[in-house]
């Protein structure tokens, strides 16, 4: 317990860094994931291929490798990117591929009749997607999106452990560990910090599910 109380500042600042990191990365992931899902279900074959390429790229490159590409790689290429931007972008891009796949499956679960009805009522392709199909798709994928979000919160630990070296929960726990040598305690409290975030996310998604999910 002293490990926590003596180093409360470290754990708190780590938790704040991780919270901002996952918050920003979540926004990136949802926005990009939705756009890519729209490409994946579009009528145009080249657009579908483009979406597929995006998903396969970011889903098949390990996050750690992606971090090395976006940070030292871009910097050496002359892009003046800082650690924060690199961390958010890499975690967001990586997660967006999963978001896109889940949304695509959600869209596939909306029956064809919905789309056809929309089209025959005079809605355009984009309007059908935005007003009829995607809202219904979102309702079916709230559960899987919650899982992805929890996975993302845990994956954020890789950002601090990599060369991007943000001072996140895991990093602060390791700093505490290197000062106190209380390995088990330091990482136990890191786990509790992550649990706080994941339980918050779980509660948020439960709330969304209770409100919007389709009951069958």
């Amino acid at each position: 317990m002293e490990v926590l109380t003596d180093n409360l500042d470290d754990f708190a600042s780590g938790l704040w860094v991780t919270t901002r990191l996952v918050g920003a990365a979540f926004l990136v992931a949802v926005v990009l994931g939705t756009l890519v899902a729209a490409l994946r279900v579009s009528e145009s074959r080249p657009l579908r291929t483009l979406g597929g390429l995006y998903v396969e790229t970011f889903r098949n490159v390990p996050l750690l490798v992606l971090l090395f590409i976006t940070f030292p790689g871009l910097r050496r290429g002359g892009v003046d990117i800082n650690a924060w931007t690199a961390g958010i972008v890499a975690l967001g891009l990586y997660t967006s591929a999963y978001v896109a796949e889940v949304l695509r499956s959600g869209v596939a679960a909306v029956s064809r009749g919905q789309r056809e009805a929309g089209l025959s009522l005079g809605f355009g392709q984009v309007a059908v997607l935005r007003r009829i199909v995607l809202p219904q798709a979102f309702r079916t994928v709230i559960g899987p999106l919650g899982s992805i979000t929890i996975a993302m919160i845990k994956n954020s630990a890789i950002v601090g452990a990599s060369i991007v070296a943000l001072d996140d929960v895991l990093k602060e726990a390791r700093v505490v560990n290197s000062a106190t040598f209380q390995t088990t305690e330091a990482f136990f409290w890191a786990a509790v910090c992550y649990l706080l975030l994941t339980l918050t996310a779980t509660a948020a998604f439960r709330g969304l599910e209770a409100r919007y999910a389709i009951r069958r």
């Binding site: 597929g52 396969e56 050496r76 650690a83 070296a165 700093v175 040598f181």
Partner: protein
């Protein structure tokens, strides 16, 4: 219907090509050891001692750095583990008549490695200090390094006082984490796992300076001569000691005996010239302090 399959195939092709290019990187641990076969004239130790246990398994596991030339590094062309620390490790193994097996021990995991028995001995540019001496046993110092600052040439840093607001890289779990927090409280620390990450970070400009032992920084300058050491007084002196399980007095005495012989017999000076002297042009005598003197000075 799904455009997925051709893409997957494409990726598979890329993967196969890349794997083809990466092949043949066979792991070779230790390597190049003249001391591989147990000699007949080595002293046999009782089985109850750590030395006897090591002799029974015919192998001593030594944690070293893999990325800190000239102390411990993996030679990129031969894959052998080499360096000043590695040479001393081979001397210890030779004295026991066993094969040295080198494993990577980074600053952050080397003490847990000792405590949980993953390694018998750690020789990884580890500074002796009282906090660590609470957790593990140390040999007498086998090298004295000095804490310095590395920057890009004409980087504008003139000493530890001018680090305020600058991004400074050092290894998580190293003594510099504390030293920098004390001596440059307004510097922004970037804490990474390995010094090669610090080198990458100063090269790509995401940090302004690297601070650690002079000899490690010298290794970076050997790799990249656009870097320089900041002149001025050293931040700290860092006596390196070998680490082993706390309370194992016999093993500690044995290691100090090997070290004495290593230093007086001229092997230390030879290793110094081979790994440091020929690059820095400087000369240094083996350290004469004992462990207790070092710990008293630090307390």
């Amino acid at each position: 219907m799904q455009p997925k399959r051709p893409i997957a195939l494409l990726w598979l092709c890329v993967l196969v090509l890349v794997l083809g290019a990466c092949g043949g990187d066979d792991e070779e641990q230790g390597g190049g050891g003249a001391s591989a076969t147990p000699a007949a004239d080595v002293e046999r130790f009782p089985a109850s001692t750590t030395m006897g246990r090591i002799q029974a398994k015919k192998e001593i596991t030594i944690g070293v750095k893999y990325d800190v030339p000239p102390f411990g590094f993996k030679n990129p062309s031969s894959n052998a583990i080499e360096g000043f620390d590695v040479d001393f490790g081979k001397a210890v193994a030779a004295k026991l008549g066993v094969k040295p097996r080198f494993v990577e021990a980074i600053s952050d995991n080397r003490i847990p490695f000792i405590m949980d028995g993953t390694v018998d001995l750690v020789l990884s540019t580890m500074t002796i200090n009282p906090e660590r001496a609470e957790e593990i046993g140390f040999t007498d110092p086998y090298f004295i390094a000095k804490g310095r600052i590395l920057q890009k040439k004409d980087g504008g840093i003139t000493g530890v006082d001018s680090l305020a607001g600058k991004k400074v890289c050092t290894a998580l779990g190293s003594t510099y984490e504390e030293t920098l927090k004390e001596q440059a409280p307004d510097a922004k620390l970037t804490l990474v796992d390995t010094y090669s990450e610090c080198l990458e970070s100063i090269q790509n400009g995401s940090v302004d300076a690297v601070s650690t032992d002079d000899v490690i920084l010298t290794g970076m300058i050997i790799q990249d001569d656009s870097l320089e050491l900041v002149d001025g007084e050293e931040l700290t002196t860092e006596p390196y000691g070998g680490g082993f399980k706390k309370g194992d007095r016999e093993f500690g005495e044995f290691l100090n005996g090997v070290l004495d012989e290593y230093e007086t017999g001229g092997a230390w000076a030879k290793a110094y010239e081979k790994w440091l002297g020929q690059y820095t042009g400087e000369r240094q005598e083996p350290p004469t302090e004992t462990l207790s003197e070092v710990l008293e000075a630090a307390a």
